[in-house]
């Protein structure tokens, strides 16, 4: 395959994993985060420690990245999940920047000069496999009792609490899972780039992930998938407009958000069932049309005969 296309597909796949986690946190549990690049950084550095320093296989690196990001998010969650709404958002923002600055200062892992020479273990194949596993897990989680509880927390926290749902527990669960996803995405990114630098995990990256989730449509897994692919490809497709590329990118996102305020797939899910429904509707529409044509043909025939 063309190396350029392959590269963008790989990046889409990596973004997709991070976005999948954020989709659960923001789209289903209703918590906004601007610090997920921090979890990606934790995952990227942990995985690199396992594969480059300790020489272990990539699988261990990925597992370790998920676990480490999950543990850190659990600690962060304990401190911040009692905060409501915007305050949690600001706390995550602070966390993301803090992680980056700690890595900048920590010379053992290269500091801000970065850490080169990480094995190039991320391939399109293993990323696609992880993508599929990731999507299936989230899709099943969302449809389970736990998923429904998360949605209840998103819709009306007080009511959910009154109904006997431990809201703190479900917010924590969403946060930990989303952080683990971000950790894995970070590990994949590090092993794709073969180089990690704290600069790569800045607030811009966190915002980018949140933008993808909102762009795809809150509470829609297929929306997040499409959003991740579209928004990773868009800046590269826009290279034709040269220096105006980032302006065009911004305008395209604004245009879509105005056209579809709930995001590309807001409140809609692409599943085999929804496909069947869509086709059934189409078929019904066709039949009605065909039937009406039959009638109108009759009409015109009558008209001609007159």
């Amino acid at each position: 395959m063309d190396a350029y296309l392959e590269g963008i597909l790989i990046l889409s796949g990596i973004n997709l994993i991070a976005v999948m986690g954020l989709c659960l946190l923001t789209g289903f549990a209703g918590l906004f985060s601007f610090g997920h690049a921090g979890f990606m950084a934790i995952g990227a550095y942990t995985a690199a420690i396992f594969t480059k320093m300790l020489g272990l296989p990539f699988v261990f690196g990925i597992a370790a990245s998920a676990v480490s990001a999950a543990i850190v998010s659990w600690l962060i969650g304990m401190a911040t999940l009692k905060l409501k709404g915007d305050y949690f958002c600001i706390a995550t923002l602070g966390f993301g920047e803090a992680i980056r600055l700690i890595l900048d200062n920590f010379q053992g892992l290269g500091g801000s000069r970065g850490w080169p020479g990480i094995p190039a273990s991320s391939t399109l194949l293993n990323i696609v496999i992880l993508d599929i596993i990731g999507v299936v897990l989230i899709a099943n989680l969302v449809r389970s009792r736990h998923g429904r509880n998360m949605i209840a927390v998103r819709e009306e926290e007080l009511a959910a609490q009154v109904a006997g749902i431990n809201t703190y527990k479900y917010k924590m669960l969403a946060l930990v899972i989303s952080a683990a996803y971000a950790g894995v995405a970070g590990a994949l990114l590090g092993h794709y780039m073969t180089f990690i630098q704290p600069k790569m995990f800045s607030m811009v990256k966190s915002t980018e992930l949140t933008i993808i989730v909102i762009f795809g449509g809150l509470g829609s897994i297929s929306g997040s998938v499409i959003g991740a692919v579209v928004l990773t490809f868009l800046p590269e497709l826009l290279r034709v407009v040269d220096k105006w590329r980032l302006v065009a990118y911004g305008m395209a996102v604004i245009a879509i958000m105005i056209g579809r305020p709930r995001g590309l797939m807001g409140g809609f899910e692409l599943t085999p069932a929804s496909f069947r429904k869509l086709f059934a509707e189409r078929k019904a529409a066709r039949e009605i049309k065909a039937a009406s044509r039959l009638y109108s043909d009759d009409d015109s025939a009558q008209g001609a005969g007159r």
Partner: protein, 384 residues
């Protein structure tokens, strides 16, 4: 429908004509990438314009001779916002879709490091301009076969700064202020401290800030209390101007010293009197007769002064042409081998590539002093 068909035929004809056109005159495609947007855009635009200008001039002069054929040069440039991920994307694009023979740039080390595996897979050499991190060309003791550069490296620059401060300026105590979130700044600070201490000097203050900060007074107050002989400031002109102004306000009178992040028109206009009498290490002397011609040509064509990067990308272009001549054919693999053998007089000095490190050897650094708002050349200085 007929109109559409006609349009299609015309388009097809146009494509055919344009294809035929490129086939007649042999063209060597060369990639360039760097930041055309974002906070490093000044340097990226300067590099890209210089490459375009030089290629136009060479083509106007009949092109370059490689082997027994004459070729025209064409540059394909992409913006990467100074972002490492986009650097990987554009290099993949340049090598697999545009099929370039070589790539010029980038200026940032953090962008030059991750592209190495792609270059190796595609067998396309890259000549970085001001990427001064040693790891751009050498990793874990092994030289990267397709990465080259035309500038000196951070350990050398740090050694020059420390050596000049200690031996020539007679400083025994040095204070360092650096940007902890910047790779370039961290590198220079590390090598300055190392060398200054090795000479017998003392680092009396080692203070940091992070990119985006505009208030340096707390750190500067500590530096003032440290009673230092000199202040080393290894970061970029914007922060240099801000911190220098604040230092003078606090009554710090000691001379300041910096690296190749300093030189810019902006430094003088923003820094003004605060940077008077300060020193910095540079890749070249701006008044050197060797650079005067390029400087004038750039000014004439674009109406603005060239920045530091322009001089280095100029020599990167010369190095590429030299390499192509030695290789005798337009092929990335042969070119990478040939680049190890180049030996030519560039405008920033004599460039001879060391095959073991792919760094230019024997390029002396220039020490410049700011006097009356001008960069005044002091001396060429080689670190021992």
């Amino acid at each position: 429908m007929r109109v559409r068909k006609m349009l299609f035929v015309m388009l097809a004809a146009l494509v055919l004509i344009s294809c035929g056109g490129t086939k007649q005159a042999d063209v060597i495609k060369v990639g360039w990438f760097g930041a055309l947007t974002g906070d490093q855009a000044v340097w990226g635009n300067n590099e890209y314009k210089t490459v375009q200008m030089l290629f136009e001039e060479m083509n106007a002069a009949g092109g370059i001779k490689v082997g027994d054929k004459t070729y025209k040069l064409e540059v394909i440039g992409y913006d990467n916002k100074g972002d490492a991920q986009e650097a990987v994307n554009v290099v993949r694009r340049l090598t697999s879709q545009d099929k370039v023979v070589a790539i010029l740039g980038p200026n940032a080390s953090g962008n030059a490091i991750p592209i190495a595996p792609i270059l190796e897979a595609a067998k396309v050499p890259d000549i970085a301009t001001v990427a001064t991190n040693p790891k751009v060309t050498v990793l874990d003791g092994k030289v990267k076969p397709y990465n080259f550069r035309v500038c000196f490296i951070d350990p050398y620059q740090g050694a020059v700064a420390a050596g000049y401060a200690y031996d020539v300026l007679g400083a025994r105590k040095a204070a360092v202020l650096y940007d902890v979130a910047d790779d370039y700044s961290q590198g220079l600070r590390e090598f300055f401290n190392q060398n200054f201490k090795a000479k017998g000097g003392q680092i009396v203050a080692d203070e940091s800030f992070k990119f985006g900060d505009v208030d340096f007074r707390p750190q500067l107050s500590k530096i003032k209390a440290s009673n230092t002989d000199i202040i080393f400031m290894p970061y970029f002109f914007k922060e240099v101007a801000l911190s220098a102004n604040q230092a003078r306000e606090l009554g710090i009178t000691q001379p300041m010293m910096g690296g190749d992040g300093w030189p810019s028109e902006q430094l003088i206009s923003m820094g003004g009197a605060a940077v008077e009498g300060c020193y910095f290490v540079n890749h070249l002397d701006y008044e050197d007769p060797d650079v005067a011609d390029y400087k004038a040509r750039y000014k004439k064509k674009y109406g603005v002064d060239t920045e530091l990067n322009g001089y280095l990308v100029h020599d990167a272009v010369l190095m590429l042409v030299e390499g192509l001549k030695i290789a005798g054919k337009v092929d990335g693999e042969a070119l990478a081998k040939a680049l190890e053998k180049v030996d030519f007089q560039g405008i920033t000095g004599h460039v001879r590539i060391d095959p073991a490190t792919h760094n230019p050897t024997g390029k002396d650094a220039a020490i410049l002093k700011i006097i009356n708002g001008q960069y005044v050349f002091q001396q060429k200085y080689a670190a021992k």
